[in-house]
Symmetry: C2
Subunit: 189 residues, 2 copies
């Protein structure tokens, strides 16, 4: 029961769940895809729900590291980093494996608000909101919380429209709107 074996299972399960959905993916499929035996799988994860929760934890970590890292790469100023969200989104949407937000999908399939999967999905969005709020505050915005809510809303809307193939460049559209909201606080540094 090496610990990195567990991580490997979670990582592979993430891919399959992301591609095919949670309820639609059976444990037999995951066992086959990972090459491990069912017994081993259930040694690492007591139930399917436990596995899903581990998957969402990994996703939260990966997504946060990727997005926040990308934002920092793109700008040194808080306002510039907030704008960077939408540049980063555009890069994500262009990837062939893009298939929407995993947490939105998770909360869609586990709608009971008391369910750990729903709570975890909600917490992920809350975490993003907190980060945006902190940046907005650093940027000197009068109402940082309100701006953060607006930017998060743009981000979620863009992801939905991208996942549903409604408009060709939702990241670009969101970027334009965000620039309007942030214009007073963007120094051209």
């Amino acid at each position: 029961m090496r610990p990195n074996k567990r991580d490997e299972l979670v990582s592979k399960a993430l891919d399959v769940f992301y591609r095919s959905g949670f309820h639609a993916t059976g444990m037999d499929t995951l066992v086959k895809e990972t090459g491990v035996s069912k017994t081993s799988m259930y040694k690492h994860f007591r139930t399917k729900d436990d596995l899903i929760i581990a998957v969402l934890q990994l996703r939260d970590e990966n997504f946060r590291n990727w997005l926040f890292g990308r934002m920092e790469d793109l700008s040194n100023t808080p306002a510039g980093q907030l704008i960077g969200v939408f540049t980063a989104l555009g890069e994500w949407f262009a990837k062939p494996e893009f298939a929407g937000c995993m947490f939105v999908k998770a909360s869609s399939e586990f709608q009971n608000h008391a369910h750990p999967v729903y709570r975890q999905s909600s917490a992920h969005k809350q975490m993003l909101l907190d980060h945006f709020t902190a940046l907005a505050q650093s940027a000197g915005v009068p109402d940082p919380a309100a701006l953060a809510r607006q930017l998060l809303m743009l981000k979620e809307g863009a992801i939905v429209l991208a996942a549903m193939s409604v408009t060709p460049d939702p990241a670009g559209d969101a970027l334009q709107t965000a620039q309007m909201l942030l214009q007073p606080y963007l120094k051209d540094s």
Copy 2:
């Protein structure tokens, strides 16, 4: 095989799917909930997918009638109607049965872009976009298509945040943003 019986089945199935998800809801559950026999159910709908497609058609009709009707009630001007979207959203979010957008959830569970459920979900959003674009054009906006995309994105973002209980008043936040976008075209009539 009275036609209104079929409508009744679709309507009831809509409620159950909306509450519990598509894959998570079995035909046995639907049969039990509707009181009809399984044979009758499969007389009306050849497969579960056929039923889901009928459900989404009804949802599309209901949602369109409700939203567009509410928009017209709220204002006589095109720009005012576009603002009305977000007032209407606020009313929707306050309803106890609110559980996010059914089409976003459907496309989450049926991600294959060639699947009729995905295509239908995408088409629903396209329909909304077209309506918004026409209104924006009537309002005399220079780039009606761009504004419509922005407003649709705000709507989708607000629904996601409402469904995931991230912020207390996403409709209000979206309304504020929309007012910024539409300010030049809103006459206080």
